[in-house]
Amino acid sequence: MELRKSYFADVRKDDLHEIGQPRPRSDSPGHVTGKTAFFADRNFPGMLHLKMVRSPHHHARIRSIDTSEAEKHPGVVKILTAKDVPHNVYTILILIQIGPEDETVLADGKVRWKGEAVVAVLAETERAAQEAAAKVKVDYEVLPAVFDMEEALKPGAPLVNEYHGQNYYLYDSGECRKVRFGDVEAGFAGADHVLEQSYQSSPIEHAPTETTGCVVMPEGNDRFTCYTNTQAMFFTLDNTSIILQMPGSKLHFVGGTVGGGFGGKVDVIVEPIAILGAKLTGRPVCFIYSREEEMQISSPRAAEKVVIKDGVMKDGRIVARKVTGYTDAGAYSRHSPYGAQKGAGHYPGPYTIPNVWIDTYCVYTNRTPSSAMRGFGVTIGDFALEVQMDKLARLIGMDPLEFRFINAYRDGDMKAHRQPTEGAALIECMQEASRAANWPVAEKYLAMSSYVKGA
């Protein structure tokens, strides 16, 4: 790849020693020799296996749980239910003051999605744990469920999560995240064309090659070492500390080796219950998702719905944009309120639009809780925005790349959330893209610059 030194010649440094130089990765010698230790490569004598009894229903009240048969199963050492968990209701982002706590470690009184953890079985072997888990009897009263975001927002929809009181996340600023800039209705009134389209996506599973899990070793002095493939070590440490009501000094987390994650390993799901199991039995505990669990239980990228309405002039300027975004959190918040919020900041796109109006909702449904995945909250938004850009260009009969040059933000432009643009370099990227893709644009676009206004 050729470096074009003509760009930003006055601000670039050419005395770099690291950038542009090949450097071996420190972990790859371990990878190619099979020496890298993933969490499941630790095997301790006397290790117990944890298997979860999971809800077969999308929404149900738990009338009773009977573990007596399972307890008699050969090899079973301990069975855990909600009452064993010191602080059973939690939420991951409480660490940054984003509440309310809305999710149970083990279901208490109710399940809100199919696959929710209800009872944890610890046994001498994986097989014994599995067989015993099948003997746990849970009596459910099935409740009406809601799977569609728009249905969930209608009055009278089944209430998914009592900790919220309504089927959407209540931000400090209200029922959605809002961006208001200029006067969007006046913008539409003065536009040559108005185009409203809606876009939607399905949940997407990360499918890392290594499934989620951890191995816990009790150290004998009421301290626990947890080998885990979490992608969020400090979320995990702090949330575990809250859930187990144990100071962080008693919890020693060993991580940093993740067999693929893509955001799918940032939730705090396996570690607290595995450490609790180790604490109550005094034995090492291994809790590892089967491939089936990984695909069905781990939190996917949220399903989203995005409605975009744009006002555009014949000369290519976008004069108004109104966006309503819906993020399907599933039954619990996890990272979704944050994802929906990111969308609000992102929907103006990398374009300068004088009138912008954005609402983004984080909606609860009885689906698998969604959470982080590679740019969650903005990736689906980008897909929608860029498809919309192509449609707008077609509508006014303009080349789609030239249309983007006209609207691209430059340094100094005020963004809709009132941050002036700095270091944009978008024009330059598009110039390179047009050359690389052999997509010719008029000479005047090749003369543009991100940091000289009007150039």
Binding site: D27, H31, V32, T33, G34, D41, T209, E210, R291
Partner: protein
């Protein structure tokens, strides 16, 4: 559960174990013998992370019962480098950035080794075919294909 004795050669050394009847080779290698280089990604024969070489053939150790390996010669990625010198495939995976998280890497290297053992100068299509049972979710297949082709080239140079 009935215990069965099993004896095989692993990476050049003799192993003798008693395993529960029905134990997979993957479990026996990882949990009994302590060779954790084969990885369990799916335990159902679809990801290839557990690939090992048994008597010269590529095998999924998650679908192979340990008790069927009596007298076999088994090799895994952990036995590939000799006295600290990387095998050309390992070198190539390292040099061409063919590994990200590394979880699929031991299985990939085993699949590639069987290919190069049988076909020292494979075509690109033959490499793709040989790796088709191994899933990688991070690296993207292109650097992996390049690594195998690079190793093949360095092998033929050494032979020349």
């Amino acid at each position: 559960m009935a215990k069965v004795p099993v004896q095989f050669t692993l990476n050049g050394s003799e192993k003798a174990e008693f395993v529960d009847s029905g134990t997979t080779l993957l479990h026996a290698l990882r949990d009994k013998i302590g060779d954790t280089s084969p990885k369990g990604g799916c335990h159902q024969g679809t990801c290839g992370a557990c690939s090992v070489i048994i008597d010269g053939e590529l095998r999924l150790s998650c679908l192979t019962l340990a008790e069927t390996c009596n007298g076999a010669t088994i090799s895994t990625t952990s036995g590939l480098s000799e006295s600290g010198v990387l095998h050309p495939l390992q070198r190539a995976f390292l040099d061409t950035f063919a590994t990200q998280c590394g979880f699929c890497t031991p299985g990939m290297i085993m699949a590639a080794k069987v290919l190069l053992d049988h076909t020292p100068n494979p075509s690109r299509d033959e490499v793709i075919e040989a790796l088709s049972g191994n899933i990688c979710r991070c690296t993207g297949y292109e650097p992996i294909i390049q690594a195998v082709l690079t190793a093949a080239r360095s092998n033929s140079q050494n032979a020349a």
